[in-house]
Amino acid sequence: MLTGLIAQLLNGVQYGLLLFLISSGLTLIFGVMGVINLAHGSLFMIGAYLAFAVASATGVFWLALPAAVAGGVVLGALLERVLFRQFRTRPHLDQVLLTFALILLFEEARSALLGNEFHSVPVPSALDFSVPVIGGFGYSAYRLAVLVICLAVAGAMVWLIERTRIGSAIRAAAENTEMLDLLGLDAGRVHTFVFAGGTALAMLAGALAAPLQSVYPGMGDGFLILSFIVVVIGGLGSVAGAFWAALLVGLIDTLGKAYVPQAAGIAVCAMMAAVLLWRPTGLFGRG
């Protein structure tokens, strides 16, 4: 009973950290560019399929992680330059429809290239064992590795945003885009950087998640909705908010699915409703 609870808690934290990778990109892209990207869940799906393709072609799962990041940077930069740049100032309706079109096109491209089957990606053999945690209870080493990698990425993001030059430009852009021009910085480059980074994070999350669950066409949908809830709870544009909200949502969703399967979705929704009643701009959002 207790060991089961510990395993579920660890699962929840690890799921929450994956959610953080996805939602931090979503919240930053909104905060800096003012663009809503419904195709963010599809990017997660593309990352997972890329991991499947790389792992089955080379037999080495670890190559999938740099491939997902590199692929995400290229794809994100391309999307920003070609499409999202001109949609920054367009109405929400147009942004919703543009990104919905992208979802359909991404799904079709995936279907044409890799088919519609369910796939499973084997856990890398080096980590295919369990680590004793408490009282002889074992926990998957790969899941622990995912936990560590996500935490490392979160730490790197905080360092990048708080301590580097591009980070201060991102913070300035989130505050006020005109500020960038006053500071003599190129707003376009900051936007490309943020969008490419957000895309790479979502695809990395997909690649990391591939061995944990099956890889299938609609796998990004659930993650998209949950990361929207994370962004609403955490506050738009707030990376710290996304972090804590992602952990909260990850834990509630995982524990809910384990102990009260029918109510898991409703529980997350009720939490969002409570936050909206209490603080309509999210826990960490500015007024």
Partner: protein, 303 residues
């Protein structure tokens, strides 16, 4: 929000008459296709109350649509004078519950919140045995007051859907001319000004949200009747996005825009399935082209 001119109303009336005459000359398959377009138009029109009239882009609309459809299934198909009001009231009540929460937010926050609430309605039917499970169920259509043979069915439902659409459209035309209609349009053009003029903006928005939800429930009810089948997919947010595309295709600034858009999208989707085996690719390209090039929609073609 433009209500069609006198000439425009005549054209719409002529189109309605042409559809009403379909049982005389069209095949059952064409009548079913027209019914699909009419239900789509009804659904998009319900969303236009929010998007075009009040300026709120909501992604929860499909949830209310699906509730209306499932009302028929959950009630066990009593006569239509029971199912129709129940579907409308149930969807309206759900909108009344979700609305005050979602309307605490604005802009992107509103989009995300409505998406999340809409998906929760979806999960309520997708993850629980409540509505007959993930794959959907066939339903028995409610009694219409007279016996219909299988061959007469497409024609009967076509005329029923047409009648409902015409009634709702006429009702909304009237609404747009009332104080309430003008107030909603005032919110769309400048919310702060309306607040400064002393209007209770929050309450007006909630009225629009509940009215739109109830009408979406009506559309869902008609969809369940027409197809004789309900599935959780009816509540998925993809359907809300499709309704938004109908509005954009037809023209966001016109009350009749969603009707044009629904017929255009149904035709495009049908052509897509006939020509290729990848209809979603066609739909994606249409979405992209519409959002890139067709800023005023079909209703604003000549502007």
């Amino acid at each position: 929000m433009i209500v069609a001119s006198r000439t425009g109303q005549c054209v719409l009336g002529g189109a309605a008459l042409a559809i009403a005459s379909m049982p005389l000359w069209a095949s059952a398959w064409h009548m079913q296709l027209a019914s699909t377009a009419l239900v789509g138009a009804l659904f998009a029109l319900s969303l236009q109350v929010l998007v075009g009239a009040t300026g709120l882009v909501s992604l929860a609309q499909a949830g209310f649509f699906g509730l209306g459809a499932y009302a028929v299934q959950l009630l066990g198909s009593p006569p239509i004078w029971v199912t129709l009001p129940v579907a409308v009231v149930a969807a309206g009540l759900a909108a009344l519950l979700i609305g005050p929460l979602a309307l605490r937010t604005r802009g992107f926050f509103f989009l995300m919140t409505t998406l999340a609430f809409g998906q929760m309605l979806f999960f309520a039917f997708h993850d629980t045995p409540l509505g007959g499970g993930t794959d959907g169920v066939f339903i028995q259509r409610p009694f219409l007051g007279f016996a219909i043979s299988r061959t007469a069915r497409p024609a009967v439902f076509l005329l029923l859907n047409l009648g409902v659409l015409v009634a709702v459209y006429a009702g909304l035309c009237g609404l747009m001319r009332t104080m309430l209609g003008h107030a909603l349009q005032g919110i769309r053009s400048n919310e702060n000004r309306m607040a400064a003029l002393g209007h209770d903006v929050q309450r007006l928005k909630l009225i629009a949200f509940v009215l739109a939800g109830a009408l979406a429930g009506l559309a869902g009810h008609m969809a369940a009747l027409t197809d004789g089948f309900v599935s959780p997919d009816l509540l998925g947010w993809h359907r809300s996005a499709e309704a938004l595309l109908m509005i954009l295709l037809g023209g966001i600034g016109a009350l009749h825009g969603p009707i044009l858009g629904a017929f255009a999208l149904t035709a495009i989707q049908e052509a897509g399935t006939l020509v290729t085996d990848r209809p979603r690719l066609v739909e994606g390209v249409v979405f992209l082209a519409a959002v890139l090039f067709l800023r005023h929609g079909l209703a604003g073609w000549r502007r």
